[in-house]
């Protein structure tokens, strides 16, 4: 699947195998969160696992799908809203967080979930992340970190390692990669979980906690692009590198979380959580009170 080729038939009618998938999903009882449109991702793509874990988390939390708004940018990950049952907003590239904040601020009763790729969120959209985080609007942002631009067929992304050969860097990527976990912590996200597409159970747990967190929860998830990355985030490479957050890590310790992030990239679990940080909604209540009291 790629921007150049994903096209006419919005869901592939020719593809008999895919129909089978639908039946499996139906059997799993997760259909409340899966629309009739089937994911158009490549076979073996890590995004399936993430989707599954997410559907499970939503089921567990019993979020009503008419109160759910899934907002995305553009990218393979960005097509999420089409595969979900619920209100969706497939926006423009890199700006999902801004739309999502607007939705939530306009109607705080809605559950707002943002999904998007690493290019979408850290490249073109990288200017919005620190501000969404510091505003601490109560929503969850899942970043699908596959270290590549999938939809446009394999160019370097902001998390592509230095030296990797890609469509735009045939002689090797000259730029140091960004680390979404380090970024999230230095912006002081009030919740930071780190997930891995190959561990759906663990992932589901992180999602449940993120969705339950009051405030902005940021969850980068490492995942392979099986079609355009055969050297870095492959299933083989990731499987070995995975390690859960050490049991003695205190998720309220920002410094400790930073240590973990610096030390080794592949810790999975909840690295940081600050449940009492006032959300934007809390601040807004204060503002309204002050305004009505006329203290200015």
């Amino acid at each position: 699947m790629s921007e150049e080729t994903f096209s006419d038939g919005q869901y592939p009618l020719l593809d008999r195998d895919i129909r089978r998938d639908l039946e499996q999903v139906a059997d799993s009882g997760l259909l409340d969160y899966r629309s009739e449109a089937l994911p158009t991702w490549c076979p073996g793509c890590g995004y399936y696992g993430i989707t599954h874990a997410l559907a499970q988390a939503l089921t567990e939390l019993q979020i009503e799908n008419h109160n759910l708004v899934v907002v995305s940018g553009i990218g393979c990950a960005g097509r999420y809203p089409f595969f979900f049952k619920g209100y969706g907003f497939h926006g423009v590239h890199g700006r999902a967080l801004t739309i999502a904040s607007g939705v939530k601020i306009a109607n705080p009763d809605l559950h707002v979930l943002v999904v998007g790729g690493d290019g979408d969120g850290l490249g073109i959209g990288g200017g919005h992340l620190p501000h969404a985080i510091r505003r601490n609007v109560d929503m969850t942002y899942i970043l699908f970190d596959n270290g590549i631009y999938g939809l446009t067929k394999g160019q370097s992304s902001p998390t592509t390692p230095r030296g990797q050969i890609t469509g735009t860097h045939p002689y090797g990527n000259p730029d140091e990669p960004l680390d979404p976990v380090l970024l999230g912590l230095s912006y002081r996200a009030s919740f930071l979980g780190h997930g891995y597409a190959g561990e759906p159970e663990n992932l589901k747990e992180i999602f449940v906690r993120a969705l339950s967190h009051q405030g902005f929860s940021f969850v980068p998830v490492l995942t392979p692009c099986v079609t355009f990355d055969s050297v870095n985030n492959t299933w083989d490479n990731l499987r070995g590198a995975w390690e859960p957050v050490p049991g003695d890590h205190d998720p309220s310790d920002l410094n400790g979380a930073l240590q973990l992030a610096l030390e080794k990239k592949h810790y999975y679990g909840v690295l940081y959580e600050e449940p009492d940080r006032p959300t934007f909604e809390d601040s807004e209540k204060e503002t309204v009170m002050r305004a009505r009291n006329g203290d200015q």
Binding site: Y11, H66, Y87, G88, F89, H90, G102, I105, A106, D109
Partner: protein, 591 residues
């Protein structure tokens, strides 16, 4: 009712920052408006650098509605001669100059305005500083002394001025108020007793029709108030001249009625936020200027494609690029109308004056909702900052059409088609949170359900739908009604936005000649009422399009409709186009 007494006087009160010229202007405005005069005021502060900046309150007072601030002043009040000297070329013939006859500091000879008063001008020297010291023990009330003098010289009813002064200063303290009233009275007395009236300006101590419901507001204030009146739930914005004020007012006022103001990290985020708000079913708005509107281009297109109602106010300033951030211009019309990639229709509205800043903002929300579209409201720096005496528009504003906000019926939830093709292009919308009516909004071309669909047939159908809505709006919005003479016209004047005031003033003047002149002033700038334009053009021997930009942006659009070369008045004077310019062009035409 207003009784005309032929008053039409333009004041310029000039000082350095801190001299209180702007405050004096505002007292003068307020008082005159309460008396029943009409006013237009614009504050100018060209170079307030390191406290040495010049500030000018430019106020026109007339017993008839004021269309423009006027180009030449009838009276210059100098609170700082060095600055005021640079204002001499803004004066009408026979103008009055009021100055401090004993300025607080020593002034070089060639720096005292008294030395510049030429034959034909009328100078009144008043010891402003001295009288101020007597009244308030400081030179800070020189502006108030000057106001008193103005009252005395021109027979401006003094009670109204005293009230305006008292209102403002009692907020500080009763004592300050009283000492300032003393300053005023000293000025008044000095004028009455020590000056010999040599000019012809005479308010005759008359009050044409005192009004209580009048308010003095700027275009920006009118837009902000309209947001409050329209029940805005979300304002998201990023500071930029001249739009910042709207955000600052709303930041104070909106929370009182439960609305939210978000200061975003940039304009892209601002419009993203309001698209989210509009999608969520709440009235949402942002305000910006050219550079910000440029950044919103991609998101505006998303709102077109996903059919999301939002309002974007664009206060135009000199361009291109950062341009002239403190000067007015009407040069963002092209980007407003044509700035979207693809076939991207969006309505553009432009108010003519401060009252319309309010009305059209309210209307912009109605249009945005009814037609599920972004709406751009084009004001400009002149309109945003100038103040007028207005009364708040009340009731519905159906003069500019009445529109239905079509919300989907939850009963019909089976197989909901958010973008269903309808005869007028408008599909019933659902609001997130409504059971059964969920759908994906997207910037991709999509089918009636919102799912991506790129077949040529679907693309054509959906493009047609988006343009059909546009035509539905045009039909629902009353065509612009020609103003001035009927029948065959010697000259027809088309204009838009804040230049309409100058065009109207020019028409008024032309009607005093033997010229048959009419005007056509669309407020719905896009889509254009083509028939009305053609009809007007067919009646006009000469057709003028007057606007505040260099390249004739509206003239280009009009020419494409009327299939005729128009006479272009395209000026970029960094201020409003003087009506004299239009009169000059029209007067020189063959009939």
């Amino acid at each position: 009712m207003t009784e005309l007494n032929g008053i039409d006087v333009t004041f310029r009160i000039c000082g350095a920052a801190g001299d209180g010229s702007l405050a004096a202007g505002s007292f003068l405005n307020r008082a005159a408006a309460r008396m029943g005069y009409h006013i237009m005021n614009i504050d100018l502060y060209p170079a307030e650098i390191r406290g040495f900046g010049k500030s000018v309150a430019h106020t026109r007072i007339s017993d008839r509605p004021v269309q423009t601030p006027g180009s030449l002043a009838d009276c210059l009040v100098s609170l700082n001669d060095l600055h005021a000297i640079t204002e001499l070329d803004t004066l009408a013939e026979g103008a009055v100059i009021l100055y401090d006859s004993k300025p607080p500091n020593y002034v070089e000879e060639d720096e005292a305005i008294a030395g510049f008063i030429e034959p034909g001008m009328i100078g009144y020297g008043i010891p402003l500083g001295e009288l101020s010291s007597i009244a308030t023990k400081s030179a800070r009330s020189r502006n108030i002394v000057a106001l008193g003098a103005l009252s005395g010289i021109f027979h401006l009813p003094s009670e109204y001025l005293r009230d305006a002064i008292r209102e403002r200063f009692t907020r500080k303290s009763e004592e300050i108020a009283e000492s300032n009233i003393r300053a005023f009275d000293l000025g008044l007395e000095y004028a009455n007793t020590r000056l010999v009236k040599a000019d012809a300006i005479d308010f005759e101590e008359r009050v044409p029709g005192a009004r209580d419901d009048v308010v003095i507001v700027s275009g920006n204030e009118a837009v902000a108030r309209a947001c409050l009146d329209a029940g805005v739930r979300l304002y998201a914005g990023y500071p930029i001249t001249p739009a910042t004020k709207i955000m600052e007012i709303l930041a104070k006022e909106l929370p009182k009625q439960g609305g939210v103001v978000v200061q975003t990290e940039d304009e892209i985020s601002a419009i993203g936020h309001i698209i989210g708000g509009g999608f969520a079913g709440k009235r949402s708005i942002t305000a910006t200027s050219g550079p910000g509107l440029s950044l919103m281009s991609e998101f505006l297109n998303l709102a077109v494609m996903a059919e999301v109602p939002v309002v974007v106010v664009n206060g135009q300033r000199g361009g291109p690029s950062t341009g002239l951030p403190t000067k007015t211009e009407q040069s963002d019309l092209n980007i407003a109308v044509f700035g979207g990639s693809g076939d991207s229709p969006r309505p553009v509205l432009a108010p003519a004056d401060v009252t319309e800043c309010h009305k059209l903002t309210v209307k912009a929300f109605e249009v945005a909702e009814a037609f599920q579209t972004p709406v751009i409201l084009l004001t400009d720096l002149f309109l945003a900052n100038r103040v007028e005496d207005i009364t708040w528009p009340e009731g519905d504003l159906a003069i500019w059409g009445r529109y239905e906000n079509r919300i989907a019926d939850p009963v019909a939830a089976e197989d909901f088609k958010r973008f269903v093709i309808t005869p007028d292009g408008v599909s019933p919308r659902s609001i997130p949170g409504t059971p059964g009516l969920h759908y994906p909004a997207t910037g991709l071309e999509h089918d009636e359900r919102g799912m991506p669909e790129y077949s040529p047939e679907n693309h054509l159908r959906m493009t047609e739908k988006r343009y059909l809505k546009f035509n539905t709006l045009r039909d629902a919005w009353p065509a612009p009604v020609p103003e001035g003479a009927d029948g065959e016209l010697d000259v027809g004047i088309i204009s838009w936005g804040s230049t309409i005031g100058s065009a109207r003033e020019a028409l008024e003047h032309l009607h005093t000649t033997d010229m048959n002149a009419g005007g056509l002033f669309p407020r719905l700038i896009w889509p254009l009422h083509e028939d009305a334009l053609k009809e007007f053009s067919s009646r006009s021997r000469n057709l003028i399009v007057a606007e505040g930009n260099y390249s004739g942006q509206f003239a280009n659009m009009v020419e494409a409709v009327v299939c005729r070369e128009v006479i272009r008045i395209t000026e970029i004077p960094a201020g409003p186009i003087p009506s004299e310019r239009i009169i000059e062009v029209a007067g020189g035409l063959n009939r």
